[in-house]
Every structure is written in structure tokens, then in C-alpha cells.
Amino acid sequence: MEDVDSRAFEKPLQLALAGNPNSGKTTLFNALTGLRQRIGNYPGVTVTTTTGSMFFDQKSAYITDLPGTYSLAASSLDEKVVHDYINGNLPHVSKPDVLVCVIDATHLSKNLFLASQLAEHHIPMVIALSFWDSASKHTHFELGLLTQRLGVPIVPINAAKGEGIAELKSAILDAHANSKTMTRILWDAKIQEVMDAFKKEVEQKGERLSDAEVQRYLFDSYVPSLHRVKIDPVELKKIVDFHRAKIRQGGFHPHTAEAVLHSHHLNPLLIGVVSSGKTRTRRAESIDKILTHRFWGFAAFVLFMYLIFQSVYSWSSPFMDGIDFVKGFLQGQASEALASFPQLQSLVTDGIIEGVGAFLIFLPQILILFFFISLLEETGYMARAAFLMDRLFSWSGLNGKSFVPLLSSFACAVPGILSTRTIEDQKSRIITIMIAPLMSCSARLPVYVLLIGALIEPRYGSFVAGLTLFAIHLLGVIVALPVALILRFFLKSKQSKPFLIEMPEYQIPNIRNVSSRMWNEAKEFIVRAGTIIFAITILVWAALYYPRPADLEEKVKQEMHASYIEEGGNGGEFFQALEDEESDISAALGQKIDSAYINQSYLSRFGKAVQPVFDLAGFDWRITVGILASFPAREVIVSTLGVIFSLGGEVDEGSHSLREAINHSVWTQGSKMGQPLFTIPVAFSIMVFFALCQQCGSTLAVIRSEISTKWAVWSFVYMTLLAWVGSVATYQFLNLFF
């Protein structure tokens, strides 16, 4: 048995990455695990823990990326996770064996505060010095001296380039094998006394606290609730307050003593370690002269947004045409191959290829949008945008920290809502979550682009088209502000927490991060095409294709014959023309049969029954059906419309595109029979509906898990009502002019 490597049976190492926000933890995590977690140059990108696996020479290990925090004195949800994780208080995870403390070398002394707090947990530690590339340019570090003083390995890294990773790995093994923990603070005698007394008193109540937990109880501005501590909260608070009073008597303030004392502890350790050459001027400041300028700041903001939407719109055309061509080609091939099985032929060409294709055609826009979003995130502009907008948001009860979640909701509300965990104030957090889904997410892009491309651009040109796309995105923001104001009025006011946001240095976007963001989004988009879109497409097709009464074709032929004679035609000629499949009459009959089938289909009957609800908004039964089908996920609309118009025979041989079908479709029921269906007012009415409606199952699920079921229901109800009112108002108003 001796030759079996005993290490193979050991439990895998459990590692954790801790550090200040924006210090490069996720970049390092990705370098270590090969995963592609999101990275961005602003504080608060990572808000939950992510665990991945990595390999040392013979060992495997789990590594957890934690949200960034300046201190263990947590004031927002994402920061509490760090504290809970390191104390092993999260379900299903054990305490880490080694902590990798990621420290931004350009701000060494400030970042060390967290490391010094972490040292109180007696966990072996390694310090990874990130931003080494830029720090070592201007500053000389005596790393040997610092290593000696801190007692833990210190490894300079440049995670983005993979430099220092091997050294870091061996340092981790070293720290683990030799239990290297960081030099602890020597507490002021009075504080130490209070900590001991507190610990003893809690022990008498039957609970053992670690030193680190004692410090959290005494120093944090709230009384942390450790689930495992079974003491009555009221009693516990009394004990805490008693000992905090003792701290005050000793001449310290309980909520700041920690920061002050750690800094006294660290300052001498840093003497002779850092010697900077010439003082660095922050590049950010000269760039900010323009980007946060009183006037130019806003101008630049609006210009950026406009350019993004204009490019999303105009750069994508050639790619869309390409996808459209492929779709048409596939339909042609499938149609020929399946000619002898009409049902299957229709399912494949009118259903699957049309539906999935009508969705996939928007892949180029999504890629372009995320290209820009990741540029904004990578450069460091996000923090500036929050700085610019804070005042505007504070009027509606939001703080500047709401800005980042709201901006990420333009990509997708789900990560946007998750990132509200950085907002300390619960009231602001709820308001932010409630308005986040009003930000126009990328799933709405297809329907906007479809309608703008079909109706606005041909008439008014591409400048107006881009402008329309920009305006419709703005709509959500404009509606969100009063909604926030109303919510603020109804939510009971709690003590509001201060707003503090770091303004990171600008940096040149890393191509790898940008492309990995685009790749992730593209993957998700294509997966959706293959799953939910595919499934709903088949359902919609079936509900539109059936029933197939045997006598329908004959009946249509008779009717057409009758009206032909009524108009003075010759009956014989009529049947003769039908012999010729190329004749006008044959084509007209084919179209009539298609639309007769679809008009008596299950989905159409259902749609016509519901349509009156949307009559005031100018929607016919087809748009109604499309909207109803889109409640689980709003992007379903394009594939549903694709199937409806394709089956209805309106996407004819020459033009496969849904865009053209939309341009030619007419009302098939009611008083507007025969009039064009998609007019300018209808197009806007639909876009407004999609801009405001809560048509996203995932968002509702996230709201439910982040706040409560009640708020999820509210979100659904208010947005859906708002969407209906908004689209009716838009339609009725625009109808006065068009």
C-alpha cells in the first residue's frame, strides 16, 4: 500500500480570494481556474461567491472568489457574505484552508487594513500583489523586508497576463504546509481587556466566540447576527452595549477603534518598504476634466449613449442580411426535401427555421451592444457616470450606488438586480430593484430593431432610426424616476446610509475581457435560441397549424369562384386559370387558403377572443398572441411573429424576411379590415409596451429571491398595467398625427 500517493486521498484544498473592491480578485480567479467570470473596472462587480476548481502539481483545490470589501465591518449584503464565508458560517462550505489576500500594490497601505483584519482569523495567508505592472513603474518595494515583517509569502502578480501565477501557487502550498499566518495586531491593553471580558460573558451564556467574531460584535455599527449564536438578540445587544461603553471609557470609539488601531499597527511595518520616485499624477484627473465637466460631462454622456445605439443599429445590417440569407437558403432546402410530408415541411420551414431564425438574426446587435457595455465597464467610466448622475437619482430616493445596477440592467435585469447587493440602504435597494426592469434590456432590442427597421428607417432614414432606438431606451429611465419617487413615498423611511464610491484610475480595455464578455453573451443567446425559443416556436406553430378541417380548401375555392362570377368574370376561365400554378388566380387562392387555415386555428380563435383587451392600443389578434407568448421571456415575440406571418403565407417566396412581411400585413378582422396593420402609431405602441412591461420570468424569480414574493407580484402588476396604459396612450396620441 505504501506506493499509493497518500495525498490523493486528502481532502482538496479550500482557497478563498479576499480583497478590496476592484483589486483584481476576479481577474486572478479567472487566471487560476480558466473560468470567465465577469470583470470590470469599478467597485462592486462581483457580488456573490463563485467557486471553481484548480490544480497544483498533484493536488486539486477549490477556490472561491469573494465580493470586494474595504473592511470586515460589513454594511451591505455583498460584504456580509465575505464575513460569513471566512467564518465558515455559510451553509455547505467550510472555512478556507488558505486565504489569498489580493492587494492592489498601488494602494498597499490602505489595502493592508483588510489583510490585518483577516489575520485575526488565524487562517494561513498569502498576499498577492496585483497591479504590479503599474505600481512597480513608479515605486520601489522592499518585498523581502515586508515578507519578514508580515510573516506570510508576498507574491507580485499580473493576473491579466498570467505572470506570477506559478509563484503564487507554490506560495499557497508553502503557507498551507507551514501554517503561515500574518502577524497579528497587538491590541491596546484596554481594548484587549474589553474583548476578553466580552468573550467570557458570552461563554457563560454557553456560546464560544472566536477572537475575530468578538471584534465584529464590538466594533461593527450594527450587531451582527451570527445564526449559530443562540443567545436572545435583546440580551445580546445589552451585553454588546455594555462592553462598547467600556471601549468608550478607554478613550476609543467602538466603530472606529479598529481602523485607527490597525493603522497604528501597520504604519511601522511599512517604514522602509515603499519608496516612491516622483509623485504620480493620476491620469484620471485630466480625463475627468472633460468627462465629469459641468457641461461637457453630460454632453459626453449623451453622445456616448447615442453613438452606442446608432452603432448597434447600423453596424449590424450586413450581418443581419447574411443570417437572413442563410435562413432563406435553409428554408428552401428543407422545403424541397420534405415536399412529400406537408405537415413536417410546415413545422420545419414555417415553424422551427422561421421562428428560431427570426430570433437568431439579432445576434449581431447583441454582440455590438455588449462590446460597448464591456468597454464602458473596463475603462472605468461607470464610476464617473454614477458621479454625474447621483444628484438626479437622489431626488427620487436613490443613491449613486443605484446607478451601476441600473446601468447593468440595460444589458439584463437579472445581474442588475443582483448587483443591488452593494447598496447598504434596504429602502434604496428595494426601489432600485423595482425600477431596474424598466431599463431597456438587451432582450428588448430585437423587437425594437425589427419595428424600426421595417417602418421607421425606410421612411425617415438611418439617423432617425438610431435616434428612435436611443429614445425608446431613454423612455424606461424617464418613467423610472417618478416610479421611484412614488415608491419612496410609500416605503417607510429608514435611516439612510452614506454614499461613498471609489473613482478608479482609467485604463485601456483589455481585449480578452471584452471578447470574453461578448462570447459569454453570445453563448447564452444561442442557448436560448435552442431551448426556450425553440420550444415556444413549436408550440406556437402547432396552435396555428391545427385544426385542419378537410373541406376548408374546397370551401375557399367555391367562395372565390362565386365572387369571381359576381364581379362579372367567366366561371370557366376561373378554373382554367387554376390549372396553371403560376397564374395570378392560383397565387391568390393559395394565399386565401393559407389565411383561412390560420384564421380558424386554435391560436387565432384564442387571440381574437383576447384581442379586445388590446384594441385601444391598436393591436390585432396576431400582435396580441405575440405579446401573450412573450410573457415568459420577451424576446419570444420575434419568433412568434415570424411563425405567424410565415404560416399566414405573408412571407412569400421572394421575401423571406419578417421585416417585409410586417410592411405588407393588413388587418384581417374588425372594422379596419384590409388596412395596413403596422402603422407608425402601432409600431410605437408595441415598442412602448415592450419597454414598460415585465415580460421576464427570470427577473421575477430573482426579485422573489432577493426581496420577497410580494415584491415580485407588485413588480409584475405595476409594470404590466403601466405597459398597457403607456401603449394605449401612445397609440391614441400618435393616431392624431398619422
Binding site: 490602505k110 472606529t256 493603522s263 453630460f298 461613498l500 473613482m503
Partner: protein, 80 residues
């Protein structure tokens, strides 16, 4: 000279932090962030609508709201 409100500094002016209201949550946050009494602070500029304000301490820039900034009292350092 009497210590003054941090928000009363002139644009670009440098000052030394004298006191921080330790009961104010913003000061507790700032102290965790590395902003401590005796450090030098520089007022960079206000946001376009006058609030929040941007400061720099030891090469790290951050912004806080005006009302919060006033919890910090500073003495301007002249001639720097």
C-alpha cells in the same frame, strides 16, 4: 485657525484632516477606506449638479455627498 467643514474647501485645495465625526456612518466607512485623521486630503471638484464631491487621499479618489463631507473637519495647508 479654526478647523472647517471639508465641503468648504476650494477646488484643488489641500487640507489636513483634523477630526472626523466618529458617530457618523460615513466617517466609519471612510476610516475603513483608509481616510483617517492627520492624513492629507485634496478636494478635486464637485459633480456637475453640485453634489456629490470628489476627493483624493493618498492617490485614491472617491466621492461622497456634501452633507456627509461636512462630518469631517479640516485645516487647509497653505502654500502647497
Amino acid at each position: 485657525m479654526k478647523p472647517q467643514c471639508l465641503s468648504k474647501l476650494q477646488k484643488g485645495e489641500i487640507a489636513r484632516i483634523v477630526t472626523m465625526d466618529q458617530d457618523a456612518p460615513v466617517c466609519q466607512r471612510l476610516m475603513n477606506f483608509g481616510v483617517l485623521p492627520d492624513k492629507q486630503i485634496r478636494y478635486i471638484k464637485p459633480a456637475p449638479m453640485g453634489d456629490p464631491l470628489e476627493f483624493e487621499v493618498e492617490g485614491r479618489a472617491f466621492s461622497v455627498r456634501k452633507t456627509d463631507a461636512c462630518r469631517i473637519k479640516v485645516l487647509p495647508i497653505n502654500g502647497l
